[in-house]
């Protein structure tokens, strides 16, 4: 289980596993920083020790040689660190871009944090608490939110972390490179049992994952969303015929929407979520702000189901205007 690139002979682990495509990228930058930092620390420490011995006060060295300074040296030790810093900066930025730019074909999972558990929703219908099953060798995008306070989705062996915020979606993604069970932690302090908000990410070979995914699946979120859409009466306004008082949702997802009073917004998960909870915030051009809020009437899981239902309405492509 342990594959520690640093000091592998120690009887206890000092380095996390490299179990995602991100992990080696993060670690290579770490090695660069460790190398330069160790060099600097040793240099400073050696100089201090050497000077303290060589120039200690003793007979024959009662007075110092007074040196005011040196502009050349000052420029040297301003510019040199700056160059090294900029290398670290650019390198760090490139890893960050990689870590926060999920590939478009990533497998999507919803994650909801609440005091003190993680709830995950697969699109095929599987739900999990504190465990997250994922396939090896495929990018997984986790769309995160929180039901109460701020939590943080942290998988050390993947080098992945993203806060889960109440009231909005954030996203994390990773691609596991080896099968295994990895720690999932909540990294943002969230109250009394913060340290019990832990679970596992179980990375499985694709075939095993498919099998797992098929077992025990009930309704998919989109199917549950369709039912909820009717139960909440959404379909009385959001319809394609002339009685529609709200925008037709077919083919909506991922499109640009023109808003009342100018402005354009992309109809993504965050926009749909906002429109359910705060409908007056961004009203589609040509419609009245008559929709009531569903805040408090529908849970975070329900919102996920509704979003997935709206997404599933992509099929019937309508002719353009």
């Amino acid at each position: 289980m342990t594959r520690s690139p640093i000091l592998p002979f120690l009887p206890f682990r000092i380095f996390p596993e490299q179990a995602s495509t991100l992990a080696p990228r993060t670690d290579h930058l770490l090695y660069f920083l460790l190398g330069t930092s160790a060099f600097m620390s040793v240099l400073i420490a050696a100089l201090i020790v050497w000077f303290s011995i060589r120039y200690r006060r003793r007979p024959g060295n009662e007075v110092a040689i007074q040196i005011e300074g040196s502009n050349k040296l000052e420029i040297f030790w301003t510019v040199t660190p700056l160059i090294v810093f900029m290398v670290a900066y650019a390198w760090g930025a490139s890893v960050y871009f990689y870590a926060y730019t999920p590939p478009p074909d990533a497998l999507q999972v919803y994650g909801v944090g609440k005091q003190w558990m993680w709830k995950f929703q697969h699109l095929s219908g599987q739900r999990e608490i504190n465990d997250l099953h994922v396939p090896v060798g495929r990018a997984v995008r986790v769309l995160l939110t929180s039901q109460d306070v701020i939590h943080s989705f942290f998988v050390p062996d993947f080098r992945v972390k993203q806060d889960a915020l109440p009231g909005r979606y954030t996203e994390a993604w990773f691609e596991a490179t080896e099968a295994g069970t990895f720690h999932l932690f909540c990294a943002e302090y969230c109250g009394t049992l913060h340290s019990h908000m832990i679970g596992s990410v179980v990375a499985m070979e694709p075939a095993a994952f498919e099998q797992w995914l098929a077992g025990g699946a009930t309704l998919s979120p989109a199917q549950r969303g369709q039912k909820l859409f009717q139960d909440l009466g959404c379909n009385t306004c959001h319809r394609s015929d002339t009685l529609a008082r709200g925008p037709d949702l077919v083919g909506l997802f991922g499109k640009s929407v023109r808003l009342q009073g100018g402005g354009v917004v992309t109809a993504d998960e965050a926009y749909i979520r906002e429109s359910i909870l705060d409908p007056a915030a961004k009203v589609v051009d040509g419609f009245q702000p008559i929709m009531p809020t569903f805040s408090g009437l529908v849970s975070e899981e329900g919102i996920i189901d509704l979003i997935e239902y709206v997404k599933s309405l992509q099929g019937e492509e309508k002719p353009g205007p």
Binding site: W77, G92, I150, R159
Partner: protein, 542 residues
């Protein structure tokens, strides 16, 4: 407060300690030196209370299971530890004790510009400390020192309001001290004491004061908003009321990142005094060290966003904050190089204060370098909110700031108390603290990269070895801190009488008796020479 008579031997001439007696003469004093001692007692109390909570945290973490304290209690312990140490010890420590005592002495003044305001600042501090003490007695607060919303505003059931009020109030003490120091530095300098003849400690206090005046109001506003949201549900931070929880983090770190420099800049100032004194040498690159303080104060305002790289901040904002965070590291690096270069061809004595100063340089270097890890966006994703962060800021604040504070306390102790401390005990304690500190916090870097999140009451078994090392180090560190506390008190009665200038230092504070007379200087000194004007066989340019 009534320790004053103990210090006085009959043959000693009149000084600020023996000129008046009694509790009233202390509680109503306008003498900056006596106010410094009032602060010294207050923040020493805060340090040991904060240390008690740290002890509880480290003992709980000795074993993976949450067994010694209950989860609620553990959360309160680390919260109280952070709140007390940051707001009631680290931020006031050097400015209010050493700064208050030394600023007028170093610039040849009789007192600070506003002596009454100075005393008022202490009372404001004590009122804030009163609210915090009430908070502790009433059961504590469990939000962490960071008060993140909406946990602090809606979900926590502990004493958030009184804790926030204590911080709100103590902030005014900080603002007024900063204001006092800025005016004092501008208006009260002795004739001939131009800006570039000022001791570097004064430069660093000046830079610190600017941050205190400009940044602290934002903290006050933020704490007030937390209180308002908790009581009146105003909906600033809670998304269910239409607020934005990340807004709190922006506001909080807009103060609290500059606050890191409030804590470290005065420490850098102390080290800039100690190194030249014990190398008997002018500081290398005086103007660069001086301007580096100002650059840090300025750039320190522009990096708050590096605390929220994984909190849902825009990727492009993170790019800017990361770059600026690297820039702020440059002036710190400049200081380290200049201190090191000052040792070259010096005449070095490894006294207790010098050991602390050299320890500071080493630990601050490590703290600063690990800051570069955190400024790297890709690394920060992984180590944010882990023990790596905890180790990093303890290297800066404890390894850096507390080492400098203790170095300064030993250096100026003869001036403050009129007594010498026992040198052998001093050196031994400095070494114990250095070793204990590293054993406590170095394993935490490893622990953090391994993945242990901070603020965990229980943890998986694989983290135990490193936690045991850390707790072992903390117990050594605890002993290390009790030693100076003990022998410095001992020296008040039994220490040798201090001469005016036991270190043959050049500062104006050393040209008057130890302890100083009530009004510092009999005649206002006229300054004709640069600082650190130590003798040398010949002048030379490097």
């Amino acid at each position: 407060m009534t320790a004053a008579p103990v210090i006085i031997a009959p043959e000693v001439e009149e000084n600020y300690l023996n000129v008046r007696y009694g509790v009233r003469s202390w509680l109503l004093t306008k003498d900056h030196k006596r106010i410094a001692l009032l602060y010294l007692m207050a923040i020493t109390g805060a340090f040991f209370v904060g240390g008690f909570f740290a002890l509880g945290v480290r003992l709980e973490l000795l074993t993976p299971a949450g067994d010694l304290l209950r989860a609620e209690t553990f959360n309160k312990f680390f919260s109280m530890h952070g709140i007390i140490m940051v707001f009631f010890f680290l931020i006031p420590s050097i400015p209010t004790v050493l700064g208050n005592f030394l600023l007028p002495l170093m610039i040849g003044a009789r007192d600070v510009a506003f002596p009454r305001l100075n005393l008022a600042s202490w009372y404001i501090y004590m009122i804030g400390a009163g609210f915090l003490s009430y908070t502790i007695v009433a059961g504590g607060v469990d939000t962490g020192w960071t008060f993140y919303t909406p946990f602090s505003t809606i979900y926590s059931t502990t004493n958030v309001i009184t804790a926030a009020l204590g911080i709100f109030i103590v902030g005014f003490s900080s603002i007024l001290t900063g204001l006092n120091f800025i005016v004092t530095t501008h208006k009260m300098r002795a004739p001939g004491l131009t800006w570039f003849r000022l001791p570097l400690f004064v430069w660093s206090l000046y830079a610190t004061s600017i941050i205190q005046v400009l940044a602290t109001p934002v903290l006050g506003i933020t704490m007030a908003l937390v209180g308002l949201e908790r009581t009146l549900r105003v909906g600033i931070f809670d998304p269910s009321l239409g607020g934005d929880p990340v807004l709190f983090q922006h506001l909080f770190w807009f103060y609290s990142h500059p606050a890191v420099y409030i804590m470290i800049l005065p420490g850098m100032g102390v080290v800039s005094e100690l190194v030249p004194t014990f190398a008997r040498k002018r500081i290398f690159g005086y103007t660069y060290v001086a301007y580096a303080s100002v650059a840090i104060a300025f750039l320190g305002f522009l990096v708050w966003g590096h605390h929220i790289f994984v909190a849902g901040q825009s990727m492009y904002a993170s790019l800017v904050f990361s770059m600026l965070s690297y820039l702020v590291a440059v002036p710190s690096a400049i200081k380290v190089f200049n201190w090191t270069a000052t040792l070259y061809k010096g005449s070095i004595r490894l006294t207790t204060p010098m050991l602390y100063a050299l320890g500071f340089i080493g630990l601050f270097t490590m703290g600063g370098l690990t800051g570069l890890f955190l400024a790297a966006l890709g690394i920060d994703i992984h180590v944010q909110d882990t023990y790596f962060i905890v180790a990093h800021f303890h290297y800066i604040m404890v390894g850096g700031m507390v080492m400098a504070y203790l170095g300064g306390m030993h250096f100026w102790w003869p001036k403050i108390s009129g007594r010498m401390y026992p040198e052998a005990w001093g050196r031994m304690s400095a070494i114990i603290i250095f070793l204990g500190f590293n054993l406590t916090f170095f394993p935490q870097f490893v622990l953090g990269y391994l993945g242990m999140p901070r603020r965990y009451w229980s943890y998986p078994d694989e983290f135990q070895v490193l936690n045991v090392l850390s707790t072992a180090g903390a117990s050594i560190l605890g002993v290390g801190y009790l030693l100076p506390m003990t022998y410095l008190l001992w020296s008040l009665r039994y220490g040798a009488h201090a001469p005016a200038n036991p270190w043959q230092a050049t500062g104006l504070e050393w040209q008057i008796p130890s302890p100083p007379p009530e009004h510092n200087f009999e005649r206002t000194p006229v300054v004709t020479r640069p600082p650190y004007d130590y003798p040398g066989p010949e002048e030379s340019r490097g």
